[in-house]
Protein backbone atom coordinates (compact mmCIF):
# COMPACT_ATOMS: atom_id res chain seq x y z
CA UNK A 1 0.00 0.00 0.00
CA UNK A 2 1.37 3.47 -0.82
CA UNK A 3 2.67 5.25 2.32
CA UNK A 4 0.11 8.09 2.22
CA UNK A 5 -2.84 5.75 2.15
CA UNK A 6 -1.34 3.69 4.93
CA UNK A 7 -0.87 6.66 7.24
CA UNK A 8 -4.35 7.99 6.39
CA UNK A 9 -5.83 4.63 7.25
CA UNK A 10 -3.84 4.62 10.45
CA UNK A 11 -5.06 8.03 11.55
CA UNK A 12 -8.60 7.09 10.62
CA UNK A 13 -8.20 4.05 12.83
CA UNK A 14 -6.93 6.19 15.68
CA UNK A 15 -9.85 8.57 15.33
CA UNK A 16 -12.35 5.76 15.14
CA UNK A 17 -10.86 4.20 18.24
CA UNK A 18 -10.93 7.54 19.99
CA UNK A 19 -14.58 8.10 19.16
CA UNK A 20 -15.55 4.58 20.17
CA UNK A 21 -13.74 4.79 23.49
CA UNK A 22 -15.23 8.21 24.15
CA UNK A 23 -18.71 6.90 23.50
CA UNK A 24 -18.12 3.95 25.79
CA UNK A 25 -17.02 6.19 28.64
CA UNK A 26 -19.71 8.73 27.85
CA UNK A 27 -22.35 6.01 28.05
CA UNK A 28 -21.57 5.42 31.69
CA UNK A 29 -21.36 9.12 32.37
CA UNK A 30 -24.68 9.80 30.67
CA UNK A 31 -26.44 7.24 32.80
CA UNK A 32 -25.02 8.81 35.92
CA UNK A 33 -25.21 12.51 35.18
CA UNK A 34 -28.66 12.52 33.66
CA UNK A 35 -29.94 11.10 36.93
CA UNK A 36 -28.19 13.85 38.82
CA UNK A 37 -29.45 16.52 36.43
CA UNK A 38 -33.01 15.23 36.62
CA UNK A 39 -33.17 15.49 40.38
CA UNK A 40 -31.60 18.92 40.23
CA UNK A 41 -33.98 20.12 37.58
CA UNK A 42 -37.00 18.86 39.44
CA UNK A 43 -36.10 19.61 43.01
CA UNK A 44 -33.14 21.95 42.94
CA UNK A 45 -31.22 19.35 44.91
CA UNK A 46 -27.79 18.02 44.04
CA UNK A 47 -27.32 14.53 45.42
CA UNK A 48 -23.70 14.51 46.53
CA UNK A 49 -24.11 10.86 47.45
CA UNK A 50 -24.69 9.87 43.84
CA UNK A 51 -21.14 8.58 43.50
CA UNK A 52 -21.59 6.40 46.56
CA UNK A 53 -24.75 4.90 45.08
CA UNK A 54 -22.84 4.13 41.89
CA UNK A 55 -20.16 2.50 44.02
CA UNK A 56 -22.78 0.49 45.88
CA UNK A 57 -24.16 -0.74 42.58
CA UNK A 58 -20.70 -1.78 41.48
CA UNK A 59 -19.85 -3.68 44.66
CA UNK A 60 -23.23 -5.37 45.01
CA UNK A 61 -23.04 -6.21 41.32
CA UNK A 62 -19.63 -7.74 41.93
CA UNK A 63 -20.99 -9.94 44.70
CA UNK A 64 -24.07 -11.01 42.77
CA UNK A 65 -21.94 -11.70 39.72
CA UNK A 66 -19.69 -13.97 41.76
CA UNK A 67 -22.71 -16.00 42.77
CA UNK A 68 -25.13 -15.75 39.89
CA UNK A 69 -23.34 -14.20 36.95
CA UNK A 70 -23.16 -10.82 35.29
CA UNK A 71 -26.64 -10.80 33.80
CA UNK A 72 -28.27 -11.56 37.11
CA UNK A 73 -26.36 -8.66 38.62
CA UNK A 74 -27.45 -6.36 35.81
CA UNK A 75 -31.04 -7.38 36.49
CA UNK A 76 -31.08 -7.30 40.29
CA UNK A 77 -28.93 -4.29 41.08
CA UNK A 78 -31.20 -1.66 39.50
CA UNK A 79 -34.16 -3.13 41.36
CA UNK A 80 -32.34 -3.09 44.67
CA UNK A 81 -31.03 0.41 44.09
CA UNK A 82 -34.44 1.66 43.00
CA UNK A 83 -35.70 0.47 46.36
CA UNK A 84 -32.84 2.34 47.99
CA UNK A 85 -33.91 5.38 46.02
CA UNK A 86 -37.42 5.10 47.38
CA UNK A 87 -36.08 4.89 50.91
CA UNK A 88 -33.82 7.86 50.21
CA UNK A 89 -36.75 9.86 48.90
CA UNK A 90 -38.99 9.14 51.87
CA UNK A 91 -36.40 9.29 54.65
CA UNK A 92 -34.16 12.08 53.41
CA UNK A 93 -35.56 14.20 50.61
CA UNK A 94 -39.20 14.53 51.69
CA UNK A 95 -38.61 15.41 55.34
CA UNK A 96 -36.04 17.99 54.31
CA UNK A 97 -38.20 19.63 51.69
CA UNK A 98 -38.52 22.82 53.67
CA UNK A 99 -34.80 23.20 54.25
CA UNK A 100 -32.51 25.24 52.06
CA UNK A 101 -30.97 23.57 49.04
CA UNK A 102 -27.52 23.86 50.57
CA UNK A 103 -28.61 22.05 53.69
CA UNK A 104 -30.11 19.21 51.70
CA UNK A 105 -26.99 19.01 49.55
CA UNK A 106 -24.84 18.81 52.67
CA UNK A 107 -27.03 16.05 54.07
CA UNK A 108 -26.64 14.05 50.85
CA UNK A 109 -22.90 14.60 51.16
CA UNK A 110 -22.97 13.19 54.67
CA UNK A 111 -25.11 10.24 53.63
CA UNK A 112 -22.77 9.57 50.73
CA UNK A 113 -19.79 9.50 53.07
CA UNK A 114 -21.62 7.11 55.39
CA UNK A 115 -22.57 4.82 52.53
CA UNK A 116 -19.04 4.82 51.17
CA UNK A 117 -17.61 3.90 54.55
CA UNK A 118 -20.12 1.09 55.04
CA UNK A 119 -19.12 -0.37 51.69
CA UNK A 120 -15.43 -0.17 52.56
CA UNK A 121 -16.17 -1.78 55.90
CA UNK A 122 -17.73 -4.81 54.24
CA UNK A 123 -15.45 -5.13 51.27
CA UNK A 124 -12.11 -3.84 52.43
CA UNK A 125 -9.84 -1.41 50.68
CA UNK A 126 -8.44 -3.26 47.68
CA UNK A 127 -9.62 -2.95 44.14
CA UNK A 128 -11.74 -5.67 42.59
CA UNK A 129 -12.21 -6.64 39.03
CA UNK A 130 -15.18 -8.19 37.37
CA UNK A 131 -15.03 -10.32 34.30
CA UNK A 132 -17.27 -9.57 31.43
CA UNK A 133 -19.75 -12.33 30.62
CA UNK A 134 -18.70 -14.83 27.94
CA UNK A 135 -20.86 -13.40 25.18
CA UNK A 136 -19.45 -9.95 25.67
CA UNK A 137 -15.82 -10.78 26.13
CA UNK A 138 -13.20 -10.69 23.47
CA UNK A 139 -13.11 -8.44 20.45
CA UNK A 140 -14.82 -8.31 17.13
CA UNK A 141 -13.34 -7.09 13.91
CA UNK A 142 -15.12 -4.39 12.00
CA UNK A 143 -13.59 -2.90 8.88
CA UNK A 144 -10.09 -4.14 9.69
CA UNK A 145 -10.38 -2.75 13.19
CA UNK A 146 -10.50 -4.93 16.25
CA UNK A 147 -12.54 -3.60 19.14
CA UNK A 148 -13.63 -5.06 22.49
CA UNK A 149 -17.17 -6.36 22.35
CA UNK A 150 -17.87 -5.20 25.87
CA UNK A 151 -17.30 -1.61 24.98
CA UNK A 152 -19.66 -1.90 22.05
CA UNK A 153 -22.17 -3.27 24.51
CA UNK A 154 -21.58 -0.23 26.71
CA UNK A 155 -22.18 2.06 23.79
CA UNK A 156 -25.40 0.28 22.97
CA UNK A 157 -26.56 0.55 26.59
CA UNK A 158 -25.68 4.23 26.59
CA UNK A 159 -27.57 4.92 23.40
CA UNK A 160 -30.47 2.90 24.68
CA UNK A 161 -30.76 4.84 27.91
CA UNK A 162 -30.45 8.12 26.01
CA UNK A 163 -33.24 7.07 23.73
CA UNK A 164 -35.44 6.01 26.63
CA UNK A 165 -34.73 9.26 28.42
CA UNK A 166 -35.49 11.35 25.36
CA UNK A 167 -38.69 9.41 24.76
CA UNK A 168 -39.83 9.93 28.29
CA UNK A 169 -38.98 13.61 28.37
CA UNK A 170 -40.62 14.41 25.07
CA UNK A 171 -43.58 12.09 24.90
CA UNK A 172 -45.03 11.78 28.36
CA UNK A 173 -46.78 14.38 30.53
CA UNK A 174 -44.43 13.71 33.44
CA UNK A 175 -41.45 14.20 31.17
CA UNK A 176 -42.89 17.47 29.93
CA UNK A 177 -43.38 18.66 33.48
CA UNK A 178 -39.81 17.79 34.39
CA UNK A 179 -38.51 19.70 31.39
CA UNK A 180 -40.65 22.72 32.19
CA UNK A 181 -39.64 22.84 35.84
CA UNK A 182 -35.97 22.36 34.93
CA UNK A 183 -36.03 25.37 32.69
CA UNK A 184 -38.03 27.60 34.96
CA UNK A 185 -38.41 26.63 38.59
CA UNK A 186 -41.21 29.11 39.13
CA UNK A 187 -43.53 26.93 37.09
CA UNK A 188 -46.26 26.08 39.52
CA UNK A 189 -47.62 22.61 39.94
CA UNK A 190 -49.46 21.79 36.79
CA UNK A 191 -52.85 20.26 36.98
CA UNK A 192 -53.03 16.53 36.76
CA UNK A 193 -49.47 15.91 37.79
CA UNK A 194 -48.73 14.47 41.19
CA UNK A 195 -45.46 16.20 41.93
CA UNK A 196 -44.62 13.97 44.87
CA UNK A 197 -45.12 10.81 42.91
CA UNK A 198 -43.09 12.19 40.05
CA UNK A 199 -40.28 13.07 42.40
CA UNK A 200 -40.33 9.53 43.75
CA UNK A 201 -40.14 8.19 40.22
CA UNK A 202 -37.25 10.45 39.27
CA UNK A 203 -35.27 9.65 42.39
CA UNK A 204 -35.67 5.89 42.11
CA UNK A 205 -34.87 5.99 38.38
CA UNK A 206 -31.78 8.01 39.15
CA UNK A 207 -30.52 5.52 41.71
CA UNK A 208 -31.47 2.56 39.53
CA UNK A 209 -29.48 3.92 36.61
CA UNK A 210 -26.58 4.69 38.90
CA UNK A 211 -26.72 1.02 39.84
CA UNK A 212 -26.75 -0.10 36.22
CA UNK A 213 -23.78 2.13 35.56
CA UNK A 214 -22.04 0.58 38.54
CA UNK A 215 -22.57 -2.97 37.30
CA UNK A 216 -21.52 -2.02 33.78
CA UNK A 217 -18.43 -0.29 35.10
CA UNK A 218 -17.14 -3.49 36.68
CA UNK A 219 -15.59 -5.11 33.61
CA UNK A 220 -14.66 -1.77 32.11
CA UNK A 221 -13.08 0.29 34.88
CA UNK A 222 -11.95 -1.18 38.16
CA UNK A 223 -13.96 -1.31 41.34
CA UNK A 224 -12.06 0.47 44.09
CA UNK A 225 -12.79 2.39 47.27
CA UNK A 226 -12.16 5.77 45.68
CA UNK A 227 -14.64 5.34 42.86
CA UNK A 228 -17.41 7.24 44.58
CA UNK A 229 -15.41 10.43 44.85
CA UNK A 230 -13.98 10.12 41.35
CA UNK A 231 -17.39 9.58 39.86
CA UNK A 232 -19.25 12.26 41.80
CA UNK A 233 -16.62 14.79 40.78
CA UNK A 234 -16.95 13.72 37.15
CA UNK A 235 -20.71 14.00 37.35
CA UNK A 236 -20.57 17.37 39.05
CA UNK A 237 -18.24 18.69 36.37
CA UNK A 238 -20.58 17.38 33.70
CA UNK A 239 -23.66 18.84 35.31
CA UNK A 240 -22.01 22.25 35.70
CA UNK A 241 -20.68 22.26 32.15
CA UNK A 242 -24.04 21.20 30.85
CA UNK A 243 -25.84 23.87 32.79
CA UNK A 244 -27.19 22.51 36.04
CA UNK A 245 -30.67 21.25 35.49
CA UNK A 246 -30.48 20.99 31.76
CA UNK A 247 -30.75 17.32 30.87
CA UNK A 248 -29.88 17.82 27.23
CA UNK A 249 -26.92 19.88 28.30
CA UNK A 250 -25.80 17.11 30.64
CA UNK A 251 -25.83 14.60 27.80
CA UNK A 252 -23.84 16.87 25.51
CA UNK A 253 -21.45 17.63 28.35
CA UNK A 254 -21.05 13.91 29.08
CA UNK A 255 -20.12 13.28 25.45
CA UNK A 256 -17.70 16.18 25.52
CA UNK A 257 -16.24 14.95 28.79
CA UNK A 258 -15.80 11.43 27.43
CA UNK A 259 -14.08 12.73 24.33
CA UNK A 260 -11.80 15.05 26.22
CA UNK A 261 -10.91 12.43 28.80
CA UNK A 262 -10.08 9.77 26.23
CA UNK A 263 -8.25 12.16 23.95
CA UNK A 264 -6.36 13.47 26.92
CA UNK A 265 -5.16 10.05 27.95
CA UNK A 266 -3.96 9.42 24.40
CA UNK A 267 -2.37 12.73 23.50
CA UNK A 268 -1.45 14.14 26.90
CA UNK A 269 -0.81 11.07 29.03
CA UNK A 270 1.13 13.04 31.63
CA UNK A 271 -1.78 15.38 32.24
CA UNK A 272 -4.55 12.87 31.68
CA UNK A 273 -6.04 13.13 35.15
CA UNK A 274 -6.18 16.91 34.96
CA UNK A 275 -7.79 17.17 31.56
CA UNK A 276 -11.42 17.17 32.77
CA UNK A 277 -10.64 20.04 35.15
CA UNK A 278 -9.03 22.04 32.39
CA UNK A 279 -12.17 21.49 30.36
CA UNK A 280 -14.25 22.71 33.29
CA UNK A 281 -12.19 25.87 33.71
CA UNK A 282 -12.33 26.66 30.01
CA UNK A 283 -16.09 26.23 29.91
CA UNK A 284 -16.49 28.42 33.00
CA UNK A 285 -14.39 31.07 31.35
CA UNK A 286 -16.30 31.09 28.08
CA UNK A 287 -19.81 30.34 29.21
CA UNK A 288 -20.29 30.85 32.93
CA UNK A 289 -23.81 29.52 32.72
CA UNK A 290 -22.79 26.23 31.24
CA UNK A 291 -23.67 24.98 27.79
CA UNK A 292 -27.32 24.12 28.22
CA UNK A 293 -30.11 26.44 29.21
CA UNK A 294 -29.73 25.65 32.84
CA UNK A 295 -29.49 27.62 36.01
CA UNK A 296 -25.87 27.91 37.06
CA UNK A 297 -25.62 31.64 37.49
CA UNK A 298 -27.34 33.28 40.41
Amino acid sequence: MPPRDASRQKSAAVIALLIANSLALASLLIMLSSGLALIYGLRDVINFGHGAIYMLGAYIGYTIALVGGFWLALFLVPILLALLGIVFEYLALRPLQRRTHIEVALVTLGLGIILGQIIIFFYGGEARSVDAPKILSGSITVLNLSYPVYRLFLIVMGLGSCALLALWLRCTPSGLYVRAVSQDPSVARMMGINADRLSLLVTSLSTAFAGIAGVLAGPYLSIDPGMDITMIVNCLIIVVIGGTGSIGGAIVAALLFGLVQVAGSVFLPNLASLVPYILLMIVLLIAPGGIGRGRVLS
Binding site: H101, A105, L106, I229, V296, L297, S298
Partner: protein
Protein backbone atom coordinates in the same frame (compact mmCIF):
# COMPACT_ATOMS: atom_id res chain seq x y z
CA UNK B 1 -43.17 45.88 69.70
CA UNK B 2 -42.00 47.96 72.66
CA UNK B 3 -39.69 45.11 73.60
CA UNK B 4 -38.05 45.40 70.19
CA UNK B 5 -37.54 49.13 70.54
CA UNK B 6 -36.10 48.76 74.04
CA UNK B 7 -33.66 46.11 72.98
CA UNK B 8 -32.36 48.15 70.09
CA UNK B 9 -32.01 51.15 72.37
CA UNK B 10 -29.01 49.43 73.93
CA UNK B 11 -27.49 49.41 70.48
CA UNK B 12 -26.79 53.09 71.03
CA UNK B 13 -23.17 54.29 70.73
CA UNK B 14 -22.33 53.96 74.42
CA UNK B 15 -23.49 50.36 74.49
CA UNK B 16 -21.56 49.54 71.32
CA UNK B 17 -18.31 50.89 72.65
CA UNK B 18 -18.48 49.01 75.93
CA UNK B 19 -19.34 45.82 74.07
CA UNK B 20 -16.36 46.16 71.76
CA UNK B 21 -13.97 46.92 74.62
CA UNK B 22 -15.38 43.93 76.51
CA UNK B 23 -14.64 41.66 73.61
CA UNK B 24 -11.19 43.11 73.06
CA UNK B 25 -10.12 42.84 76.66
CA UNK B 26 -11.63 39.38 76.91
CA UNK B 27 -9.73 38.49 73.79
CA UNK B 28 -6.44 39.81 75.13
CA UNK B 29 -6.79 37.82 78.33
CA UNK B 30 -7.75 34.70 76.43
CA UNK B 31 -4.81 35.25 74.14
CA UNK B 32 -2.19 35.32 76.83
CA UNK B 33 -3.76 32.80 79.17
CA UNK B 34 -4.51 30.31 76.47
CA UNK B 35 -1.04 30.53 75.04
CA UNK B 36 0.71 29.83 78.30
CA UNK B 37 -1.48 27.95 80.75
CA UNK B 38 -1.97 24.71 78.81
CA UNK B 39 1.75 24.35 78.27
CA UNK B 40 2.19 23.95 82.01
CA UNK B 41 -0.81 21.77 82.57
CA UNK B 42 -0.79 19.34 79.67
CA UNK B 43 1.68 16.86 78.29
CA UNK B 44 3.18 16.87 74.82
CA UNK B 45 0.65 14.50 73.35
CA UNK B 46 -2.33 16.55 74.47
CA UNK B 47 -0.66 19.73 73.27
CA UNK B 48 -0.10 18.17 69.87
CA UNK B 49 -3.72 17.10 69.60
CA UNK B 50 -4.76 20.52 70.73
CA UNK B 51 -2.58 22.22 68.14
CA UNK B 52 -4.06 20.07 65.43
CA UNK B 53 -7.45 21.02 66.73
CA UNK B 54 -6.57 24.70 66.53
CA UNK B 55 -5.36 24.40 62.95
CA UNK B 56 -8.51 22.54 62.06
CA UNK B 57 -10.36 25.27 63.89
CA UNK B 58 -8.76 27.84 61.62
CA UNK B 59 -9.90 25.90 58.60
CA UNK B 60 -13.31 25.62 60.18
CA UNK B 61 -13.31 29.41 60.70
CA UNK B 62 -12.73 29.96 57.02
CA UNK B 63 -15.48 27.52 56.05
CA UNK B 64 -17.86 28.99 58.63
CA UNK B 65 -17.24 32.59 57.62
CA UNK B 66 -17.97 31.86 54.00
CA UNK B 67 -21.10 29.92 54.91
CA UNK B 68 -22.43 32.33 57.45
CA UNK B 69 -21.77 35.60 55.66
CA UNK B 70 -21.94 34.68 52.02
CA UNK B 71 -24.06 31.56 52.19
CA UNK B 72 -21.44 29.66 50.22
CA UNK B 73 -19.99 26.29 51.20
CA UNK B 74 -16.35 25.96 50.16
CA UNK B 75 -15.41 22.28 50.04
CA UNK B 76 -11.87 22.80 48.81
CA UNK B 77 -10.23 24.11 51.98
CA UNK B 78 -7.88 21.13 52.11
CA UNK B 79 -6.37 21.94 48.74
CA UNK B 80 -5.26 25.32 50.09
CA UNK B 81 -4.19 23.92 53.45
CA UNK B 82 -2.14 21.13 51.92
CA UNK B 83 -1.17 23.24 48.96
CA UNK B 84 0.41 25.81 51.24
CA UNK B 85 2.46 23.05 52.79
CA UNK B 86 3.56 21.77 49.41
CA UNK B 87 4.51 25.21 48.17
CA UNK B 88 6.57 25.83 51.28
CA UNK B 89 8.26 22.45 50.99
CA UNK B 90 9.03 22.89 47.30
CA UNK B 91 10.25 26.41 47.90
CA UNK B 92 12.63 25.24 50.58
CA UNK B 93 13.88 22.11 48.85
CA UNK B 94 13.93 22.86 45.16
CA UNK B 95 13.86 26.62 45.29
CA UNK B 96 16.52 26.86 47.94
CA UNK B 97 14.65 29.73 49.48
CA UNK B 98 14.94 30.82 53.08
CA UNK B 99 11.92 29.88 55.16
CA UNK B 100 10.57 33.42 55.39
CA UNK B 101 10.81 33.92 51.64
CA UNK B 102 9.33 30.51 50.96
CA UNK B 103 6.37 31.44 53.12
CA UNK B 104 5.85 34.74 51.36
CA UNK B 105 6.13 33.28 47.90
CA UNK B 106 3.82 30.41 48.78
CA UNK B 107 1.33 32.85 50.26
CA UNK B 108 1.34 35.01 47.16
CA UNK B 109 0.88 32.02 44.89
CA UNK B 110 -2.11 30.89 46.91
CA UNK B 111 -3.69 34.34 46.98
CA UNK B 112 -3.27 34.57 43.22
CA UNK B 113 -4.76 31.12 42.76
CA UNK B 114 -7.69 31.95 45.02
CA UNK B 115 -8.30 35.20 43.16
CA UNK B 116 -8.36 33.50 39.76
CA UNK B 117 -10.43 30.53 40.88
CA UNK B 118 -12.74 32.79 42.85
CA UNK B 119 -13.28 35.03 39.85
CA UNK B 120 -14.45 31.99 37.92
CA UNK B 121 -16.73 30.45 40.49
CA UNK B 122 -17.97 33.03 42.95
CA UNK B 123 -20.70 34.27 40.64
CA UNK B 124 -22.41 30.91 40.43
CA UNK B 125 -25.34 29.92 42.61
CA UNK B 126 -24.48 28.39 45.99
CA UNK B 127 -25.02 24.79 44.86
CA UNK B 128 -22.83 25.19 41.82
CA UNK B 129 -20.23 26.92 43.99
CA UNK B 130 -20.18 23.94 46.33
CA UNK B 131 -19.76 21.56 43.41
CA UNK B 132 -17.01 23.63 41.88
CA UNK B 133 -14.98 23.98 45.06
CA UNK B 134 -15.17 20.22 45.47
CA UNK B 135 -13.95 19.77 41.91
CA UNK B 136 -11.17 22.32 42.35
CA UNK B 137 -10.02 20.56 45.49
CA UNK B 138 -9.83 17.25 43.70
CA UNK B 139 -8.00 18.91 40.85
CA UNK B 140 -5.20 19.92 43.18
CA UNK B 141 -5.12 16.40 44.63
CA UNK B 142 -4.65 14.98 41.16
CA UNK B 143 -2.07 17.61 40.26
CA UNK B 144 0.08 16.66 43.20
CA UNK B 145 -0.02 13.00 42.19
CA UNK B 146 0.98 13.58 38.59
CA UNK B 147 3.83 11.35 37.51
CA UNK B 148 5.55 14.19 35.74
CA UNK B 149 5.73 16.31 38.85
CA UNK B 150 6.92 13.50 41.08
CA UNK B 151 10.35 15.03 41.40
CA UNK B 152 8.83 18.15 42.87
CA UNK B 153 5.92 16.80 44.83
CA UNK B 154 7.18 13.41 45.89
CA UNK B 155 4.08 11.74 44.52
CA UNK B 156 2.15 9.52 46.87
CA UNK B 157 4.98 9.50 49.39
CA UNK B 158 4.88 13.18 50.06
CA UNK B 159 7.78 15.48 50.77
CA UNK B 160 9.99 15.87 53.75
CA UNK B 161 10.91 19.47 54.27
CA UNK B 162 14.52 20.29 54.77
CA UNK B 163 14.08 22.53 57.72
CA UNK B 164 16.89 24.98 58.25
CA UNK B 165 17.10 28.68 58.70
CA UNK B 166 14.87 30.91 60.76
CA UNK B 167 11.80 33.02 60.50
CA UNK B 168 11.81 36.38 62.25
CA UNK B 169 14.66 35.25 64.43
CA UNK B 170 13.00 32.02 65.54
CA UNK B 171 14.86 28.96 64.44
CA UNK B 172 12.72 26.74 62.25
CA UNK B 173 13.33 23.68 64.41
CA UNK B 174 11.51 25.37 67.29
CA UNK B 175 8.22 24.97 65.50
CA UNK B 176 8.30 21.24 66.09
CA UNK B 177 8.28 21.67 69.86
CA UNK B 178 4.77 20.87 71.05
CA UNK B 179 4.56 23.49 73.78
CA UNK B 180 5.92 26.31 71.69
CA UNK B 181 3.84 25.37 68.71
CA UNK B 182 0.73 25.30 70.82
CA UNK B 183 1.39 28.87 71.94
CA UNK B 184 1.95 30.02 68.39
CA UNK B 185 -1.08 28.17 67.06
CA UNK B 186 -3.22 29.55 69.85
CA UNK B 187 -2.19 33.13 69.30
CA UNK B 188 -2.66 32.93 65.53
CA UNK B 189 -6.02 31.16 65.83
CA UNK B 190 -7.41 33.64 68.34
CA UNK B 191 -6.23 36.56 66.21
CA UNK B 192 -7.78 35.03 63.13
CA UNK B 193 -10.97 34.43 65.07
CA UNK B 194 -11.06 38.04 66.17
CA UNK B 195 -10.33 39.18 62.64
CA UNK B 196 -13.24 37.20 61.25
CA UNK B 197 -15.47 38.44 64.02
CA UNK B 198 -14.73 42.05 63.26
CA UNK B 199 -14.98 41.41 59.53
CA UNK B 200 -18.42 39.99 60.11
CA UNK B 201 -19.51 43.16 61.85
CA UNK B 202 -17.92 45.39 59.27
CA UNK B 203 -19.48 46.85 56.17
CA UNK B 204 -18.12 43.95 54.13
CA UNK B 205 -20.02 41.56 56.35
CA UNK B 206 -23.22 43.56 56.01
CA UNK B 207 -22.87 43.66 52.24
CA UNK B 208 -22.12 39.93 52.04
CA UNK B 209 -25.16 39.06 54.09
CA UNK B 210 -27.36 41.36 52.08
CA UNK B 211 -26.07 39.89 48.82
CA UNK B 212 -26.68 36.45 50.22
CA UNK B 213 -30.25 37.31 50.97
CA UNK B 214 -31.20 39.23 47.87
CA UNK B 215 -28.47 39.49 45.28
CA UNK B 216 -30.71 41.01 42.66
CA UNK B 217 -31.90 43.85 44.87
CA UNK B 218 -28.34 44.65 45.78
CA UNK B 219 -27.46 45.04 42.13
CA UNK B 220 -30.53 47.16 41.66
CA UNK B 221 -29.33 49.27 44.55
CA UNK B 222 -26.07 50.02 42.81
CA UNK B 223 -23.82 47.45 44.49
CA UNK B 224 -21.21 45.39 42.74
CA UNK B 225 -22.14 41.99 44.05
CA UNK B 226 -19.17 40.17 42.60
CA UNK B 227 -16.25 41.93 44.27
CA UNK B 228 -17.31 41.50 47.91
CA UNK B 229 -17.77 37.76 47.44
CA UNK B 230 -14.44 37.48 45.66
CA UNK B 231 -12.72 39.38 48.45
CA UNK B 232 -14.29 37.10 51.04
CA UNK B 233 -13.19 34.04 49.10
CA UNK B 234 -9.60 35.23 48.85
CA UNK B 235 -9.57 36.11 52.56
CA UNK B 236 -10.82 32.73 53.74
CA UNK B 237 -8.30 31.01 51.51
CA UNK B 238 -5.54 33.19 52.89
CA UNK B 239 -6.48 31.96 56.35
CA UNK B 240 -6.49 28.36 55.19
CA UNK B 241 -3.02 28.97 53.79
CA UNK B 242 -1.80 30.33 57.10
CA UNK B 243 -3.08 27.20 58.80
CA UNK B 244 -1.32 25.11 56.17
CA UNK B 245 1.98 26.90 56.69
CA UNK B 246 1.77 26.42 60.43
CA UNK B 247 1.05 22.75 59.89
CA UNK B 248 4.05 22.17 57.66
CA UNK B 249 6.35 24.13 59.94
CA UNK B 250 5.34 21.88 62.77
CA UNK B 251 5.11 18.57 60.99
CA UNK B 252 8.11 18.95 58.74
CA UNK B 253 6.56 17.09 55.87
CA UNK B 254 3.59 17.10 53.50
CA UNK B 255 1.66 14.31 51.90
CA UNK B 256 -1.32 14.00 49.57
CA UNK B 257 -3.50 13.18 52.61
CA UNK B 258 -3.29 16.76 53.79
CA UNK B 259 -4.91 17.85 50.53
CA UNK B 260 -7.57 15.21 50.52
CA UNK B 261 -11.31 15.64 50.57
CA UNK B 262 -11.45 14.18 54.07
CA UNK B 263 -9.60 17.20 55.45
CA UNK B 264 -12.13 19.49 53.80
CA UNK B 265 -15.03 17.53 55.22
CA UNK B 266 -13.34 17.49 58.62
CA UNK B 267 -13.21 21.27 58.53
CA UNK B 268 -16.85 21.36 57.53
CA UNK B 269 -17.84 19.04 60.37
CA UNK B 270 -15.79 21.04 62.85
CA UNK B 271 -17.58 24.19 61.73
CA UNK B 272 -21.01 22.57 61.92
CA UNK B 273 -20.31 21.01 65.30
CA UNK B 274 -19.12 24.20 66.87
CA UNK B 275 -21.69 26.37 65.16
CA UNK B 276 -20.99 28.47 62.12
CA UNK B 277 -22.21 31.77 63.47
CA UNK B 278 -19.37 33.64 65.13
CA UNK B 279 -15.78 32.69 65.74
CA UNK B 280 -15.92 30.74 68.96
CA UNK B 281 -17.88 27.88 67.44
CA UNK B 282 -15.49 26.78 64.68
CA UNK B 283 -12.46 26.93 66.97
CA UNK B 284 -14.26 24.87 69.58
CA UNK B 285 -15.44 22.52 66.88
CA UNK B 286 -11.89 22.02 65.68
CA UNK B 287 -10.71 21.14 69.17
CA UNK B 288 -13.63 18.78 69.78
CA UNK B 289 -13.04 17.10 66.44
CA UNK B 290 -9.35 16.65 67.02
CA UNK B 291 -9.80 15.01 70.41
CA UNK B 292 -12.75 12.96 69.24
CA UNK B 293 -10.77 11.73 66.27
CA UNK B 294 -8.07 10.50 68.58
CA UNK B 295 -10.68 8.66 70.60
CA UNK B 296 -12.15 6.94 67.59
CA UNK B 297 -8.83 5.64 66.35
CA UNK B 298 -9.20 3.73 63.13
CA UNK B 299 -9.58 6.11 60.21
CA UNK B 300 -12.55 4.32 58.78
CA UNK B 301 -14.62 5.01 61.85
CA UNK B 302 -13.66 8.67 61.86
CA UNK B 303 -14.86 9.07 58.31
CA UNK B 304 -18.10 7.29 59.07
CA UNK B 305 -18.69 9.52 62.06
CA UNK B 306 -17.88 12.54 59.93
CA UNK B 307 -20.71 11.61 57.63
CA UNK B 308 -23.03 11.00 60.57
CA UNK B 309 -22.00 14.29 62.15
CA UNK B 310 -22.76 16.23 58.97
CA UNK B 311 -26.26 14.80 58.83
CA UNK B 312 -26.82 15.19 62.54
CA UNK B 313 -25.67 18.77 62.78
CA UNK B 314 -27.64 19.91 59.78
CA UNK B 315 -30.86 18.14 60.59
CA UNK B 316 -31.00 18.09 64.36
CA UNK B 317 -28.52 20.66 65.68
CA UNK B 318 -28.18 23.36 63.04
CA UNK B 319 -26.79 25.89 65.48
CA UNK B 320 -23.99 23.61 66.64
CA UNK B 321 -22.72 23.46 70.19
CA UNK B 322 -22.05 27.16 70.65
CA UNK B 323 -25.26 28.22 68.96
CA UNK B 324 -27.27 25.77 71.00
CA UNK B 325 -25.71 26.90 74.26
CA UNK B 326 -26.13 30.58 73.53
CA UNK B 327 -29.75 30.24 72.49
CA UNK B 328 -30.42 28.17 75.60
CA UNK B 329 -28.84 30.90 77.68
CA UNK B 330 -30.90 33.55 75.94
CA UNK B 331 -34.07 31.63 76.54
CA UNK B 332 -33.13 31.19 80.15
CA UNK B 333 -32.35 34.88 80.40
CA UNK B 334 -35.61 36.05 78.84
CA UNK B 335 -37.59 33.64 80.95
CA UNK B 336 -36.07 35.25 84.01
CA UNK B 337 -36.97 38.69 82.67
CA UNK B 338 -40.56 37.74 82.15
CA UNK B 339 -41.04 36.20 85.59
Amino acid sequence: MTGDLQRTATGAPGGQLSRISLVLSGGAIALVAGALVPTYLAGDFVLRLGSEGLLLGMLALSVAFMMNQAGLVALGAASIYGGAGYLFAIGMSDGGLTPAVALCVGFLVIVAYAAVLGALIVRTNPLAFMMLTLAAGEMISHAVLLEGLRDYTGGADGLVVRMNGSILGIDVAEFADPARFWSLAWIVTVLVGLAFWSLGRSRLGAILRAVRENEERMRFSGFNTFVPRLVAYVLVNAVAAIAGFLHVLNAGFVSPESLGLSVSTNALVAALMGGIAGSLGPILGGLIFSFAQDEFGARGLTQLLTGVAIVLFIVVFPRGVVGGVSSALRRFGSRREMS
